[in-house]
Symmetry: C2
Subunit: 339 residues, 2 copies
Amino acid sequence: MIATGASPIIPDLPGFDLPGVLALKTLEDGRKIKQFIHDQNVKKAIIIGMGYIALEMCEALHDRDIGVEMVKPRPVLLPWMHEKLADMVKEEIASNGINMHLGHEVKEIEKTHKGLKVVCSDLVLEGQMVLVAIGVIPNSQLAEQAGLGLGPQKAIAVDRSLLTSDPHIYAAGDCADAFHVVTEQRTWIPLALRANRAGWAVADNVTGKNAELQGVAGTAVFKVLGLEVARTGLSVEEAEKFGFEPVEMMIQARTRAHRHPGASSIGVQMVADRKSGRLLGAQLVGREGVAHRVNAPAVALHARFTLEEFSQSDLAYAPPFGPTWDPMLTAANQLLKSL
Amino acid sequence: MIATGASPIIPDLPGFDLPGVLALKTLEDGRKIKQFIHDQNVKKAIIIGMGYIALEMCEALHDRDIGVEMVKPRPVLLPWMHEKLADMVKEEIASNGINMHLGHEVKEIEKTHKGLKVVCSDLVLEGQMVLVAIGVIPNSQLAEQAGLGLGPQKAIAVDRSLLTSDPHIYAAGDCADAFHVVTEQRTWIPLALRANRAGWAVADNVTGKNAELQGVAGTAVFKVLGLEVARTGLSVEEAEKFGFEPVEMMIQARTRAHRHPGASSIGVQMVADRKSGRLLGAQLVGREGVAHRVNAPAVALHARFTLEEFSQSDLAYAPPFGPTWDPMLTAANQLLKSL
């Protein structure tokens, strides 16, 4: 069984090997970062990248009163996300005094007398620590050298039993791929639940229990400052890539019943396929009730529900927890009109 | 179209017509209660009944510093609920200084010089206001007199198009029944979402849109003091009644990842059918993350998922919102072992 995980991408550019240029993947990495912050009395950090890990670390550092600047080459924050939802995230980060520098390609990192300097062609950021959080790659070198089949992003290709192309070798965890329940194609979405579940399934299979995993819906959630951000299924762009005819809807609703104290705004985007009527995905941003709300459409994706079927779900209602029509249903009802 | 709603059950016993004996159904009822509390400077109230409304009102009155005593004839709190989950609710109420008198049949209400007296055979409770919250009945008299077919609890029987037994008459709202997606039999679960949805569906049908409703899963949630309490689908008793062979599991898990600050305990009960392997229902109690968590199994009930299928759902994970295996999945995995 190959369970080699994934590794953070470290660009092959000058200065990325300097002390104080760190990445977060393992528990040991986390300890190193804490130690460095403590030893160097870090007051200012630069994060390269703006994905889940980058955003979670921006919050963690901000909570320790460390000034944070973020930089990335692409001009769009969370490119898979509906623009208005991404704007909610952007505003939350900006309103906490964190600078996001989008659209700046990092050329190198230099040592200065006070710390480190991240150099882009048109921007220089200075700090005492640089966190590199631009993504991960599967540790599939061993598998590749052994001649095993590879899937998307060179993750180790496995079937529903977690077998690789060699019937005597299993693979599980962030190094292995999975089937996507919406596209039914191979995908590589290295997240904790699937990694964990695949490990258990291999254990079942080697002990003769015959476990088969249906696949992933790409459900994910993260918290950044006061916001919860979640997604499941496909974005419009992904849906197009897999031959669907996606139609999307973005709504703003409330997290609790009309006039209930503590209610706040929740943004929901939903995507369905015009041809088949199938629900394809959903994205949510809000201050509460996002993390678990995404699981209703996630289960609907496993069920291959049409949008119409999902829109009929009997979801829980009580005033402290949502409007009579849950925002997921409001999004579905609105999207149905444009299908 | 008949949309006559439901009415609170008021027992035909002496004293239930006294001033200060109130029920809560309409907005007007709510205003009356508030006015009475204000006018009479109510410091002590007695609630007859311990269902959703009774428990929500116990919290509302408690928040206004009104002493509350609750009484009901049956000896079991929330009889549809797993005993250990019901105990969590009981403890929460007791720890807030609210007395629950279970197993006391109310004989009458009497006027005293200070207020009102609820008289049971072996107990007398005194207060200034009595709230009667022992349930509702459908307002189906008109339909019955017109000779329309009635369903469970004499709710007006409607088909999936919301048509009554007379093809020229629709019914919707708390007066009408629904199909249950698990049992596929008629049921009467008067809750806001279904009532609202049925109203819209009738509007669609009379304007030529041909709306059909799949039915309800019996998903419900309420908040009482610091607890969220939710259910979907069938209890063990209900499952037996409808010919299933129910197996249940009750687990305790955490609302957030291991050692994440703010985590608390969440109790989950899950029921599946031994013969078909189908997921039949779930119940949850906890301080956070209950209200929306119940929607994942609710959608799975609509999908007629087996427990095994539900257990493979790709639910969202991040440390602030749950363990890697969501408590719903842990419950499913544990229950699978006894199936």
